[in-house]
Amino acid sequence: MSRSRAEQLIESGLWLRLSGDLEWSQRLFEEAFRLDPAAAGAQPTQHEPNGAWSLAYQAELWSLLPIKVSPWPDPFASPGAVTAADSAADTWSQNPAWQAPAAAAVNPVPDVDAEPLEFEELEPPVEKPAPTPSAPPQPLETGPDVDNLLQAAEDFIELEDPEAAMELIGRAEQIAPDHPDLRLIRERGEAALHGLYEDRLGPLDAIPKVSLGAEEIVALNLDHRAGFVLSQIDGVSSFEDLFSLSGMSRLDTARILAELLEQNVITRA
């Protein structure tokens, strides 16, 4: 995968972070780093040999945040230090117009060799009027952010990580449910995800059986849908039969069965 793809992933990650989804933005950044460690601002510092992001880059991210979030743990931050996120949030709340926060100055990090950040090059976010309480939630306008999310989703499908792809597709759906490419990419994602689960299940004519006793089952943390699928496993019905019996979509059933198999709740007979 080229550097440009890594950069697209980073951009998508930024948008996710803006939306408050730290976990998934991190996944995107990590994927971008895996693809191209030399991507802009993505190099790990010598202090972070495990591939973590440079603190300068983190600082850049924090500075973009419009809301208060807990940043990743910073081993260098002194107790009580003000983080870039705090600063950004405060700045945002005080002045609706976009201001470039002095991220590096707020959270100085020794030995960081990253280039100074060029915030001015970024487009300031457009303010939206606050919706009235009675107004139904409106999808955000389709923009390059959704395209990037979808592109990233497609990349994850290519990278055989359909679970990550489906998460991104879900986010894109929230932002722009009528995006023309959504349906197709969702179908691709679901097909890939389905393939992944079925691979985990193995031959679909195999007959699963419950490997735990009644007391152990009760101690599990399952929802009622998994409980239903589990109740249909009788030592006679095959995985294929269970798809017909579950009353759920094939994808949902495959997911539940794959999870039960992974947790050793069931085994192949």
């Binding site: 009644a214 089952i217 009760v218 943390n221 399952l222 929802d223 009622h224 849908r225 998994a226 409980g227 239903f228 589990l230 109740s231 249909q232 006679v236 019905s237 039969d241 798809f243 017909s244 019996l245 579950s246 009353g247 759920m248 979509s249 094939r250």
Partner: protein, 615 residues
Amino acid sequence: MADRDAVIGIDLGTTNSVVATVQGDQPMVIRNRTGQNLTPSVVAISKNGKQLVGQLAKRQAITNPEGTVYATKRLIGRKYSSEQVVEALKVLSYPVICGEHDDIRVRLGGKDVSLPEISAKVLGELKLDAEEFFGHSVTKAVVTVPAYFNDGQRQATKDAGKIAGLEVLRILNEPTAAALAYGFGKNINGRIAIFDLGGGTFDISVLEVSKGVFEVIATGGDSYLGGEDFDHRVLEWLVFGFAKEHGADLRKDRMALQRLKDAAEKAKIELSETKSSTINLPFICTPLGGGAALHLQRNLTREKLEELTADLCERTLSITTQVLEEAKVKPSDLKEVILVGGMTRMPRIAEEVKRFFRREPCKAVHPEEVVALGAAVQAHALTSNQAPVLLLDVTPHSLGVAIAGGYARRLITKNTTVPTSVTEVFTTSKDNQTTVKIMVLQGESDIAHENELLGEFCLTNLRAALRGQLQVDVTFDINSEGIVSVSAKDQETGQEASITITPSGGLTEDELQDIMAEQEDLIAETTESDDTTARKSELSELVGRVEDLFPQVKQVLTDSEFGTDAVKRVEKTLSTARKALGAKRIATVSHSIEQLTRTLQMFKALQERVGAIVE
């Protein structure tokens, strides 16, 4: 395993069906391919588009209510506009629509399907089970129906057999089949009662068995009373108990409901053998506000089950009392009482029957299998050299004509043994009446329009006379096949008109033929697919051999008198064969195998001729 002319007996039940045969003079049940004796009479198109028949269809019935068809026996052969169907539609979860001839169709998988087709899918499943057992195809069967089924319902059942690829040798009354399974008719004679409490219906019948002749002298019941009602009582008990404990209504969740129904049935069955049963349904539902899924665990005792279902048990006895009274039969007149249907395994039911009839009921044969076993006995008798037991069919309903004033005159009363013939004399009802209209009715009402009109015809050109002066003989004939002929004859002139009423199961002959043709194609494709892989392997090998030899042959051919035409032909044959490797139909594959075999033969002939090819 068995001889090539194996025949089967089928109990096509409302909730479950069973197939049986006779092996070494002993009737036996043929287990289905999942090892069960009973196959649920349920057909479904699952949410992922797969056709399901039997146990799998039943197990997804609640989570897929619109796509699951069950209890079609209550509807088969009836008119859409009939009172019974109107009542049934109130409780059915699948879409039912009116066919072109006031017949019933169900919408399944986006198609409108007739009821004989649905029953045919169940029969087809049983046929496959039997074929698996015998190791060869089975084409002949005796199929049972309730004693009260009318001609249309019997014909619809026969049609279902035809669609499934079965020649129905005989439609046999269920109580008669049960009596046959117990060996009645051979050395036991007298009046016997058949108490049949199945999964969805209750039937009580009295048979007169005399020197190998079986006659149904009374039959009645409730087509909405059966094991499922007992299950429902347990289900309600579980639901209300859970609601009391957790404040959650499990009936709103289809998955929970499916599990409850399965568990209720299982517990009920267990309680026929044990005194108590534990119902354990972990993760039955997730609370409304979220949080960990809730578990259902309850202990049901036999005593509690009997308490929950006491009124159902009483209903069977009150219906029995009514039927016996109508037939003027006292319990003391009966020589034996036979229990039929899985619900009669419930100890309370058996006890109540024993108390009512003041005798120990017959229990030697499994009650849910007894009807199929009897059908197998009859099928065996019909196809073997032994003297078949003489079974007399009876008219399940009265037959008559409409008379002046809108009334019905019954000529043949219900339960009359067929064949039979009855003649009555009628007169004209108006002065100068030159035509009389004969409307043939079936039913028990004295009011003409409350009966079913089977057909009508006119006797014309009568002499103009005062009313009552002309006399017309009206004759009803029913032959042993159940075909009704009605004739009207002017006594004065001998002039006659008549009608023959052939029972209709709702499908026209053309519709039936179309369905059968469609079915045959489907069966052929399914059967072929099993062998296709092997044939494709054969074809693949042939393609390889021809491809290997072709370059040498091509050279020889080009130089020979065969010329380029032969080369082109081989190339085309190879091209077709390569496509056939991806075909689904075995006929396509076989055709290419034949072509390539001929090509190879041609290669060999060429080799002999020019000695140029070494295989």
